[in-house]
């Protein structure tokens, strides 16, 4: 159900490959708190385990993020989605898509997988209700044939959660 544009993906450019290797080493030395990288031999798709922070609505719950890197990373943001089941959160759709500006319009090549993870955990931690976005059903229906969240025209209206 989640969008796997795997077949259409091109190989990583040299700069992307280099940077991801560096990020991986940096992650191994200094992983962001609450995250575990699941080791595979695929540099272009990372699966990262997230553990809800203590004292928040998601404490002790474990989720999985899938991070797919485009050929021209870091000039273009990676595609980041939650694998099923996605946490119940006002900015996370049931198909795993995340409404978070840095993953789309506000991406900067100075960001890393690690900094994205920290932003996502902070978004989870500041949530006060466990519920889906209001337009969940309509949005998910629109994405049925495996559309990437990067093709969505997002509206970022709420910076509190």
């Amino acid at each position: 159900m989640t969008s796997s544009s795997g077949a259409a993906r091109k190989n990583l450019s040299k700069i992307a490959c280099n940077r991801l290797q560096k990020e991986l080493v940096e992650w191994q030395v200094n992983p962001p708190t609450g995250f575990k990288h699941k080791v595979t031999d695929n540099l272009q798709r990372w699966v990262v385990e997230v553990i809800g922070a203590p004292g928040t609505l998601y404490a002790n719950e474990t989720y999985q993020l899938q991070v797919d890197f485009p050929e021209n990373y870091p000039m273009e943001a990676p595609q980041v989605i939650f694998l099923h089941p996605a946490p119940l959160h006002p900015h996370i759709y049931s198909n795993g898509h995340i409404c978070l500006d840095i993953l789309y319009d506000s991406w900067s090549p100075a960001m890393t997988v690690s900094s994205i993870c920290i932003s996502i955990l902070s978004m989870l931690s500041s949530s006060t209700t466990k519920q889906r976005p209001e337009d969940n059903d309509r949005y998910v229906k629109n994405c049925r044939n495996g559309r990437s969240p990067k093709e969505t025209r997002w509206w970022f209206h709420d910076d509190k959660v």
């Binding site: 040299k14 700069i15 490959c17 280099n18 940077r19 560096k22 990020e23 021209n72 870091p74 000039m75 273009e76 900067s108 090549p109 100075a110």
Partner: protein, 84 residues
């Protein structure tokens, strides 16, 4: 005593005068070069923005050219303008 120098050999070292050690885009050392180049030096120069952040010229060009609207500095998000 008089010493006559028959020949001599100069050795110099250089470094870019940047505040950071690595390029925020490719994460390679400034004393090295961007991943697309082989040798550090004038062929893979650093460039500064008006905001005073430095990057490999090749890296910031890739970022600026990949943006459809005005590019921002990857570090501080200010409008990217090359420092004259």
């Amino acid at each position: 005593m008089r010493v006559v120098k028959m020949k001599w050999h100069a050795v110099a070292s250089w470094t870019w005068d940047a505040q950071d050690e690595t390029c925020g885009i490719c994460r390679m050392a400034f004393d090295g070069c961007c991943p697309d180049c082989k040798l550090p030096g004038d062929d893979c120069p650093l460039i500064w923005g008006v905001c005073n952040h430095a990057f490999h010229l090749h890296c910031i060009l890739k970022w600026v050219n990949s943006q459809t609207s005005q590019a921002h500095c990857p570090m501080c998000r200010r409008e990217w303008q090359f420092k004259g």
